[in-house]
Symmetry: C2
Subunit: 330 residues, 2 copies
């Protein structure tokens, strides 16, 4: 009640810059929070309309607006995140973004998170870690990460942090960038091996994470080990694709962070178009988290998680940062 | 080129508070700018996806996200605007909002306009003035404004400012509020008469503007003068309605700010549902601005403009404020 009163009087929103956001983030345990978000989503306790989208042609770019709320929480959030792929050539990050937190009871803007796309990167790597937590085989000797961008680097960092994997293979469409990534991540407590081709990675890894913006498959069914988990997170639109559709067709378990969203985006969308999969063969990530027995049964199994990103992740991460900021500054 | 360089180095967005926004606004001539936006929209030079929407039940509220860009301009904009109708009871404005300006070429967030819904109110009254400019009868003796909220007050102010009308009638569903509005606006250089009922207003006015959140008609065809223009701007959703559908059925000219949007919102939506009008009988506001001969022919005519609000208005007003701020501070 007293907090509410203070906020009523101070109607100017809090504005958090990237350094403040990073500092708050260090003290928040995101995995259980984002799991809670996925469960709320799959149980129908969230309101998450279809993603808003703007496409730009010259220079090429796309902007996605993800927004929504979880019922009976205090806030709703709106995220605007974009990718402008020519940015690095002029010294800017390709991904840009901002998150906004509003009161569910008054509509007042409470907080502006000037994260420049950083929190989207973080909530994506956290979602990836959640899929691995629930779907990786019992014994993982080697993990493969495909792609060489910011998200690939984050995967390496978080794989070490959460799972203590010691043997990681990487591959990129541009081999030089893969070598650069290995060099950049030399401080991590793991061995990083740059694969000569994607087949080598597929042949040798028990867990594979794909993080590219490829528009043709980079991973083929025939190259996979018989007991493998794949998390595909590079494709979040209708035209990007990383997995050969027969992977989804022949997988034992296919998990999507949002089955309804996979009707128009991601790997599942492409495999659906090819007639390789339908909704009844899929599990939503929030269902799996609520009931882990829906996962791996123990024998040789191929499992796939397709992540296109859901606003509940943004809601949970933005709220966690803001609550930490409020508690820390009171 | 030099400006671009300066902005590249300073990647933090400009943050404009309401007092700065109001100060910039005084120096900008909005009518031609917003007309330009409507024309770009009707000529297909803008990209304006469907409005994003969040509905809240307890307390009741709604949030609309309007976003888009005009091709070959420098920015794209996103507006988040909400109405929480229990707010006044706790001392807050019902309408809240924020506008964001991003670069079309990099996605960088350039400016945050903390307008709290103010610019939405302004771009709405400007659109109303534009409809009156193009559709009012040649001779206007009396203008009527229906509704008693912020938008009604703005209409009174701008009607005096732009058209020098001297004789204005007002009516509200709550007569006490109508009297309060008259008292509040006593400084305006016009006579304000509070009507005893909506029939009195309809019987006597040559231009009528409706600004209520009514969900049943407040204006009936049988009460209208034979030579009248009506601008309806209160309904921006599928359930709100201010005009008896037969008004649209029997009008000589029906103008909509967005024909596609009127398939799901506003007066036209309701009249379409009742089978009283179809798209071929309508003119889009941008078409009328580009070709004023589509308007009134000179005899007795009933004309209606139905405004549900289009992102081009937000794009134009936000960009105008920001450009003025940049030029002013350079």
């Amino acid at each position: 009640m007293s907090i509410y009163f203070i906020r009523m009087k101070n109607s100017k929103p809090s504005i958090l810059h990237l350094d403040q956001i990073k500092s708050c983030l260090k003290k928040v345990d995101l995995i259980p929070l984002i799991e809670e978000g996925f469960v709320a989503y799959s149980e129908g306790r969230s309101v998450v309309p279809p993603v808003g989208e703007l496409i730009f042609e010259d220079p090429p770019g796309d902007t996605h607006i993800k927004y929504g709320y979880i019922r009976n929480q205090e806030y709703y959030t709106v995220k605007i995140a974009s990718g402008f792929y020519n940015n690095p050539a002029i010294g800017l990050k390709a991904s840009q973004g901002i998150m906004l937190i509003f009161s569910q009871s008054t509509g007042l803007l409470e907080c502006i998170l000037l994260d420049g796309g950083f929190l989207t990167d973080i909530r994506t790597v956290i979602a990836s870690m959640i899929t691995i937590k629930y779907l990786a085989p019992d014994e993982v000797k080697r993990v493969g990460v495909m792609g060489t961008g910011i998200q690939a680097a984050l995967q390496l960092e978080y794989l070490c942090k959460y799972f203590k994997y010691k043997d990681i293979m990487i591959w990129g469409r541009d081999k030089e960038k893969a070598v650069d990534l290995k060099n950049k991540m030399h401080d991590l407590p793991c061995q990083i091996h740059v694969c000569k081709d994607s087949t080598e990675l597929a042949n040798r890894c028990d867990v594979i994470i794909t993080t590219t913006a490829s528009d043709s498959p980079i991973l083929n069914y025939k190259d996979l080990r018989p007991n493998v988990h794949i998390t595909a997170l590079g494709s979040d639109t209708g035209h990007k694709v990383e997995l050969d559709s027969s992977i989804l067709e022949r997988s034992d378990i296919v998990v999507s962070d949002s089955i309804s969203q996979s009707h128009s985006r991601g790997e599942v969308f492409r495999a659906r178009q090819a007639g390789c999969i339908n909704d009844t063969e899929m599990i939503e990530l929030g269902q799996l988290i609520a009931n882990p027995s829906l996962g791996r049964k123990g024998g040789d199994e191929i499992t796939v998680a397709d992540l296109t990103g859901v606003a509940v992740q943004d809601i949970m991460i933005a709220t966690a940062i803001y609550n930490h900021y409020l508690n820390g500054s009171e």
